[in-house]
């Protein structure tokens, strides 16, 4: 028996396909980055809505048999499958068994199956008793038509919807945070309801025909304290009315207390909720920018954008600057980008992320660069360097591009002083004014430019200036007319935007 389990576990553990499939299903059910998750969610929501609709419709109208079958078998089966899969991917039994086996081998002790299996199953059981797992389980049981009470199970299908609505989850989380206050309140409520109930029972049981049992009295008490006041049970004696008045006053106090607890819990968390929404939203896009620091540089960056920029998020730890960014209408999160947890919240695996370190402090910028690169080498970092002397440190930290405002200013000042004409030219080129864009053109394999010589391409006719080409990281300035263009060359061209675009259009085609 032990041997069978062990060999089975070992086989699963060594199977790459099994592991991949499990990871895929986990991602599909619990993750955020699987592209098909959206469709699965929509499908499940559809099943829930239809099955609830069928139940409600059925109350007064007869439904066709196939709809009953659909509800009874198909929906239940899908939910059953989902439940089993969730349970399956929750943890990895084979992993525990194999690990225990290896440890046992290493220590030359006898391999015991039961303890590890118990441990793994206990974890599964722990999952099974979480509220969402219970709801999932109960939602499987279909609304058994003949027994009306069982129809209540459909409500669990409604509750299952909660899994798919983010706001409810957040609501629950917020309430959960105020557990202590709310529990105190609940206890108080319970105490007052019972006390008032007993009081009215003792005072009016004989006199008031509406109150025949303690249950009636407690019911009256709860209806009164919550200020609902149906009026079906009402006190008839002066003493009973006095109790009522006290209960009503206590009720008003308690309701306002409960409201204020919940409201304050929300206002405390509101920012956090908004910010996590921003991060979630940006994580959905394939490529985005993380802008660290909302200072002059970032402001200038936003001012200069020519086309709509959607995929970005600003991170700043200073509340004042965050408020400013909010006022200016940008997506901002008050977080410290130099912290590991913050940057790892982003979809590092699947998206192309470019980080702009624009804070005024070099130390901070270096730290953010290192942080980003330690999470993933794939993240591109563009960092601002204030002190020209520490450029090498940024390069060492792995920054892909550097921005040096001070150096630029130096160049501009000395150019403005020595060569005033050129200043205008350089300024126009650097700021990309339309008459003087310098642009690059990447030659791909199927490009019609491949194999042509520089002389053959009449750049002048297209009102372009061919400055040179980069091949394998090396730049060739003004190559001779006989030079042949190869795959993966990058041409450096200067000209107006329309000339560049036109040239691109006519040559981008397939050979």
């Amino acid at each position: 028996m032990k041997q069978i389990f062990l060999s089975f576990a070992l086989k699963l553990r060594n199977s790459k396909r099994y592991k991949e499939a499990k990871a895929y299903i986990w991602e599909l059910l619990n993750g955020t980055s699987n592209p098909y998750k959206k469709y699965l969610d929509i499908f499940i929501i559809f099943l829930i809505v239809t099955s609830v609709f069928i139940l409600v419709y059925e109350v007064t109208n007869p439904v066709p048999v196939w709809l009953d079958y659909y509800d009874f078998y198909f929906v239940s089966f899908v939910f059953f499958l989902e439940y089993i899969l969730r349970l399956w991917v929750h943890n990895d039994l084979s992993k525990y068994i194999v690990e225990e086996y290896r440890d046992a081998q290493f220590l030359h002790r006898e391999f015991e199956l039961w303890p590890v299996l118990k441990q793994g199953l206990k974890e599964k059981l722990n999952y099974m008793i979480t509220p969402s797992a219970i709801v999932d389980l109960l939602a499987i049981f279909p609304a058994y038509r003949p027994l009306r009470v069982l129809r209540i199970f459909v409500l669990f299908r409604m509750l299952k919807l909660l899994r798919y609505t983010k706001s409810i989850n957040q609501f629950v989380e917020v309430i959960n945070n105020k557990r202590f206050e709310l529990l105190t309140l609940l206890f108080l409520l319970f105490f007052i309801v019972i006390t008032a109930g007993i009081a009215i029972y003792v005072l009016e049981e004989r006199i008031n025909p509406q109150i025949t049992s303690l249950f009636d009295a407690v019911y009256w008490s709860l209806v009164t304290i919550t200020t609902v006041g149906y009026g079906d049970v009402a006190p008839v004696t002066d003493a009973g009315r006095a109790i009522s008045m006290l209960t009503i006053i206590a009720g008003i106090g308690m309701i306002s207390f409960a409201t204020s607890v919940i409201v304050s819990a929300f206002s405390e968390r509101l920012n956090e909720i908004k910010e996590s929404r921003i991060i979630e939203q940006v994580n959905k896009s394939k490529s985005f920018l993380i802008i660290c620091g909302y200072g002059q540089m970032a402001k200038m960056f936003f001012r200069q954008r020519r086309d709509q920029l959607d995929n970005y998020v600003i991170l700043d730890k200073d509340i004042k600057r965050v408020e400013q960014a909010k006022k200016d209408g940008y997506k901002v999160v008050q977080e410290d980008a130099s912290r590991f947890e913050i940057l790892s919240k982003f979809n590092v695996k699947h998206a192309n992320i470019t980080i702009l370190c624009l804070t005024a402090s070099d130390v901070e910028n270096i730290y953010i660069t290192l942080n980003a690169k330690s999470i993933s080498r794939k993240m591109k970092v563009i960092a601002r360097v204030n002190d020209i002397n520490i450029v090498s440190k940024f390069e060492y930290a792995g920054a892909d591009h550097l921005l040096m405002p001070n150096q630029v200013v130096n160049t501009m000042i000395s150019t403005a002083i020595t060569q005033p004409t050129m200043y205008k030219a350089i300024h126009a080129i650097l700021t990309g004014k339309s008459i003087a864009r310098i642009d690059e053109m990447h030659v791909h394999e199927e490009h019609s430019l491949v194999g042509k010589s520089v002389g053959e391409l009449d750049f002048k006719k297209n009102k372009l200036l061919f400055i040179g080409l980069e091949r394998k990281g090396e730049f060739f300035f003004n190559p001779p007319a006989t030079e042949i263009i190869q795959n993966y060359d990058i041409l450096l061209l200067m000209g107006r935007k329309i000339s560049l675009e036109y040239f691109r259009d006519i040559h981008e085609g397939i050979r």
Partner: protein
């Protein structure tokens, strides 16, 4: 007026780098600073001509004789002071060339109103560079190299001398490639003092006094600058 002489106001976070850069480029430099710490810093960094004074005092400014300097550069740490200084200098010395740096759009406007001849925005170019890096990373890297002359290739402006072989020819006629340089743009004095890029698509006739801006390796540019002095008959 001394040639290549600069009166630099401010030795703060930006002034420090500006001063170093200008010194490396061989300018005669005099530094004025109102903050005592920065003043000492400048002294420490080995600048000889450093003066500690209150720049809001007009009489002290007059004593400096700014007319004797080619350009006045205002890079005070405090932006209010920088604007005030620019204004004072302009009102006192109508003829001087004043260059100021600004670190926000609002300051840029104010400095221009205060009468600065040129305002360099610290972040404008850098912020633009981000857009450029995102769109065309290779071109940006190369271009930066050209501007800072890092890889031996740079820009140069030259004035077309009298009787040069370039005179009377149009920009389309002249083949610059044998000289290893490319013509980027020019100022046609006949058409007003504005810079035109060659790629604007207008064929210009070159005359003496026109300024041309070329790109190329340093030697080619220098050789070309010599070359254009020659007359056509000699060639």
């Amino acid at each position: 007026m001394y040639k290549r002489s600069i009166l630099l106001f401010g030795y703060g976070s930006h002034g420090k780098f500006v001063a170093k850069g200008l010194q490396e480029d061989g300018f005669l430099l005099k530094i004025i600073e109102s903050n005592h710490d920065y003043y000492l810093q400048a002294k420490d960094d080995g600048f000889m001509e450093v003066e500690h004074m209150d720049v809001t005092n007009d009489r002290l400014l007059e004593v400096l004789d700014p007319q004797n300097y080619e350009k006045l550069v205002c890079v005070m740490e405090d932006e209010h002071l920088n604007v005030f200084l620019t204004l004072s200098l302009r009102s006192l010395f109508k003829e001087s060339y004043i260059l100021s740096i600004s670190d926000s759009i609002h300051t840029t406007k104010k400095l221009k109103m205060a009468g600065a001849n040129k305002v360099i925005d610290l972040y404008e170019v850098s912020a633009n560079k981000i857009h450029n890096i995102l769109k065309r990373p290779v071109a940006t890297k190369l271009l930066e190299g050209f501007v800072s002359k890092k890889d031996g290739i740079g820009f140069k402006e030259m004035i077309v001398p009298q009787n040069s072989f370039l005179e009377g020819k149009t920009t389309d006629e002249i083949d610059f490639s044998p000289y290893g340089v490319l013509l980027i743009g020019m100022i046609d004095e006949m058409l007003g003092h504005t810079f035109v890029f060659i790629t604007a698509g207008i064929n210009h006739e070159l005359n003496h006094g026109d300024t041309i801006v070329c790109i190329g390796s340093e030697e080619s540019l220098n050789a070309f600058a010599e070359e254009i002095k020659k007359e056509e008959s000699i060639l």
